[in-house]
């Protein structure tokens, strides 16, 4: 067991440091997966991945104006009531460059690393509708082009997307396929001249569906196997609204994140040129998996930011309100609630930045399991902490005059979208066991053949 790891370490040390960037991942940052083998990879987590001083200054430069914007010009109550983000707010966000945080600078974006993205996510999460609109646009909407797109596609679409002129949306869910995403029925048939696809289907619950101009759509295509057998495989397409045939329904009336535009999108014989296929025809599975697994970690810092704000507001209340001639903060149970919120916020924050730091390391690290863990813990922790914060305020927390009920409603969606917690738990367990199982069966085989 230790022999293998020694071998690997020797092999890794044999490479010069610059050559690390050639590796396509796999063994690096397999921190969570190694836990399934009973091994703690201390070098991944100790020391805690920290950013350099220049990066720190850069972030602080960004954080200031964004915080100012959010505290002054974003009226969350109004957004929640009208179920709409006012266009001035959107313009302000666009001018701050928040629509292209992870787009590289050559395409007009900010080119932030994962850690910086997480840091800004902490601030944008103060208004959940804006956070979800931004996440749907960049964490999943344009990530496909960013990760798996060709240079022409990137050059064509990313600049406008980064500036916010076009908004992106991610279209995967259908009425019959939520978590069972591979059973989608939308179809893209090749036209006779072989130069375009005709896209037919309908998608539901698409965030930014009403505002978006660029959609990342997943549909079934007929692929001919190398054996000659015809199979139905899923492919990813970049679809512009300008292609025609794209209609969307009216915005859904939701429990929370009411400012985010969620609606049905229908595609009727939409002509998609062959150049707009992301990856290759029939390779939509990989594209979807990479997109879904990469955007999750920022939920940790977003929830942590929200809880920190809540602790601030709730602590103020608990220290001023007096019952039975004692301040609320003198009661043990109230103190326990604050402890819970503080602990959870700390864990969420550290998990999110640890994962972001691991992803920021050179190479293409595979932190999908860690990201899933972050999502599961943060979503559940946020739901519980918001509930406890509301409880501290008692009846006042229940009133619409205070923002707690809005935070509660907004945080409920965290357990559902971006992969339901139940599915992610299965993912963490099964992926870890598959990894551990492969290694262990390999070792058994080795032992059996040599002995």
């Amino acid at each position: 067991m230790s022999g293998l790891s020694l071998l690997l370490r020797a092999a890794r040390a044999a490479f010069p440091p610059g050559a690390r960037q050639l590796r396509t991942g796999g063994l690096r940052s397999a921190y969570a997966k190694e836990l399934f083998l009973g091994k703690l990879r201390k070098e991944e987590v100790f020391p805690y991945p920290e950013i350099s001083n220049e990066e720190l200054e850069e972030i602080n430069q960004f954080v200031g104006p964004v915080e100012k914007f959010f505290s002054e010009e974003v009226d969350s109550t109004k957004i929640d009531q009208d179920a709409k983000i006012p266009p001035e707010t959107l313009k302000g966000l666009k001018s701050l460059g928040l629509f292209g945080m992870q787009v590289p600078e050559e395409y007009g974006g900010l080119g932030l690393s994962n850690t910086m993205y997480a840091r800004l996510g902490e601030i944008t999460s103060l208004d959940a509708s804006i956070a979800v609109t931004l996440a749907a646009h960049q964490a999943i909407g344009l990530k496909g082009i960013l990760m798996a797109g060709t240079d022409e596609q990137k050059a064509k679409y990313l600049p406008k997307l980064a500036s916010g002129e076009h908004i992106a949306a991610f279209c995967l869910t259908e009425p019959g396929s939520g978590s069972d995403a591979a059973s989608i029925q939308s179809r893209a048939t090749m036209s006779e001249d072989g130069k375009s696809f005709l896209l037919n289907g309908s998608k539901i619950w698409i965030s930014n569906g009403g505002l978006a101009d660029i959609f990342t759509v997943f549909a079934r295509t007929e692929v001919v196997d190398k054996d000659g057998a015809k199979k139905d495989k899923i492919s990813a397409f970049i679809v512009e609204r300008a292609f025609g045939g794209v209609t969307n329904g009216k915005p859904e009336d939701k429990l929370g994140i009411r400012g985010s535009n969620t609606c049905e999108v229908h595609f009727e014989n939409t002509k998609v040129p062959v150049e707009n296929v992301i990856g290759e025809v029939g390779g939509g599975f990989k594209v979807a998996m990479n997109i879904l697994n990469s955007g999750r970690f920022s939920m940790g810092s977003a929830s942590a930011g929200m809880i920190k704000k809540l602790i601030e507001m709730t602590a103020e209340y608990a220290c001023t309100r007096k019952q039975f001639n004692k301040k609320l903060s003198d009661f043990g149970l109230i103190q326990e609630k604050f402890t819970l919120m503080a602990v959870k916020a700390y864990v969420m924050e550290s998990m999110a930045y640890l994962t972001a730091g691991m992803m920021d390391r050179p190479g293409v690290p595979d932190c999908s399991v860690e990201a899933a863990m972050v999502k599961v813990f943060s979503s559940e922790g946020a739901w519980i902490c918001v509930s406890e914060a509301l409880q501290v305020l008692g009846g006042l927390g229940y009133m619409k005059d205070y923002p707690y009920e809005r935070y509660l409603r907004d945080s409920r969606i965290l357990l559902i979208f971006e992969g339901t917690n139940e599915i992610l738990r299965m993912y963490i367990a099964l992926t870890g066991m598959q990894y551990a199982g492969k290694i262990l069966t390999g070792k058994i085989k080795y032992v059996l053949t040599t002995c």
């Binding site: 591979a182 599975f285 599915i423 099964l430 992926t431 066991m433 598959q434």
Partner: protein
């Protein structure tokens, strides 16, 4: 209480003296007369004590009333002692009233209740004939036959040494019969047992055990068969098919109601009922069935509901050979997690796969039915009815594998006719 005890003791002693005296029967010796004089003070009339050659207690029962002499005469050491008592009491009509009358007859006959153990054993044997084996008050009446407080141990020596062992065994027999028929005893039973045998006696211990386990078992069956079973064959078929199916969404269809038609020319046509059941899952399975492969109608299979046996037929297909089993899950089936962990774990030396008879794979069962008659024509009507909801049956070949069903055992001495007994199904199978 003491005077009653003394009375009973005196009676015992005199009865014991009667046993000891095996001398000439019917002779009243002077010292016996003395005791009878002594007993004359008692308000109860003196009974003459007879000692007989046989030790059987039934012989020792003194006749207080002369008109009962003829009863004694008939009972002269017969192997089944109390049968005629029951015969006489029932007067041809065997029911609870006559049984209670028989028991009362015995009780009134002798205050000492001699022969009560044999009587109780005979009564327990006779209960199924009279149809009272499930009546609790009859059991209480039988327990009432025991003389009270005689068998209660009064000091530690008696308690140590299994006081009145035959009586205790007899009490246990009564409770055992109650247990076999599943009848829960009540407070009166407890009171009787305590009065007869005292606490810490075997029958009382058995009663306590009954009262511990029976409440647990009473509601243990999640699917109990109601005691009063339905009479109408269609209703009975519906009830039992729903019991077999165990799928709450299964639908019961009556393909044919039983009726007797008399045509114009006097000929009678009797139609027997056909009731079928199929669940949506079975319908889907049948829809996906390959029409080139045949489906089989098999039956009849027995289903026992308490004491009635009903028969049902099934429509089933063959299990697919391993090549045709569609089990391959695409590795790209699930975006979020791997549905199949492809780890090739080899079997070790001690992990051999044995063949377990109970785990033989069976093919899918597509539908079930209950019909009045088990011949091919009736079941063909069932298949026709099924075709309306499962159109694939019209293209699938249906093979009937019917056993002859329940019939009397035929003791055939002729070897030639023995061949005819081979059921049709064998021939059918050979033809296939």
């Amino acid at each position: 209480m003491n005077c009653v005890r003394k009375l009973l003791l005196a009676r015992e002693l005199s009865a014991g003296r009667g046993i000891l005296r095996q001398a000439a029967p019917g002779r009243d010796l002077p010292w016996l007369q003395e005791s009878s004089c002594a007993q004359g003070f008692w308000p109860v009339p003196v009974r003459s004590i007879r000692s007989g050659a046989a030790l059987s207690r039934s012989d020792l029962v003194p006749s207080a009333r002369g008109d009962k002499e003829k009863d004694r005469g008939s009972r002269d050491g017969a192997l089944v002692p109390f049968d005629e008592l029951f015969e006489r009491a029932c007067k041809g009509d065997r029911n609870k009233a006559s049984f209670s009358r028989a028991v009362e007859l015995f009780c009134q006959r002798d205050i000492r209740r001699r022969g009560h153990i044999e009587f109780i054993n005979a009564a327990l044997r006779k209960m199924p004939e009279f149809g009272v084996e499930r009546e609790l008050d009859v059991y209480n009446k039988i327990l009432d036959v025991f003389p009270k407080e005689v068998f209660v141990p009064r000091n530690f020596i008696q308690r140590m040494f299994n006081y009145y062992p035959r009586q205790q065994e007899c009490g246990i027999h009564v409770l055992e019969q109650m247990e076999n028929y599943g009848i829960m005893p009540n407070k009166q039973t407890k009171f009787l047992l305590l009065q007869i045998f005292g606490e810490k006696s075997h029958p009382v211990r058995k009663y306590q055990r009954l009262m511990y386990w029976f409440p647990k078992f009473k509601h243990a069956n999640p699917y109990p068969v109601p005691a009063a079973l339905l009479q109408d064959p269609v209703d009975l078929a519906r009830f039992s098919l729903q019991r077999i199916a165990a799928d709450l969404s299964a639908k019961v269809t009556v393909y044919q109601m039983p009726l007797t038609d008399i045509l114009d020319d006097g000929k009678e046509i009797t139609q027997l009922h056909i009731v079928g059941i199929q669940s949506p899952d079975q319908q889907e399975l049948l829809a996906r069935h390959n029409p080139a492969r045949p489906v089989f109608v098999e039956g009849p299979f027995p289903l026992w509901l308490k004491k009635t046996c009903v028969y049902y037929y099934i429509l089933r297909g063959e299990p697919l050979p391993p090549e045709e089993k569609e089990e391959v899950i695409d590795s790209e089936r699930n975006f979020y997690y791997p549905m199949q962990l492809d780890l090739d774990l080899d079997r070790d030396l001690w992990d051999n796969e044995e063949f377990y008879v109970d785990e033989v794979e069976e093919g899918p069962v597509f539908a079930m039915c209950m019909a009045g008659a088990g011949d091919q024509a009736t079941l063909a009507k069932w298949i026709l009815g099924l075709q309306q909801t499962n159109p694939i049956l019209s293209q699938t070949p249906v093979v009937f594998h019917l056993t002859p069903g329940p019939r009397e055992l035929q003791v055939d001495l002729d070897s030639e006719s023995g061949e005819e007994e081979i059921p049709q199904s064998w021939h059918a199978k050979q033809e296939l």
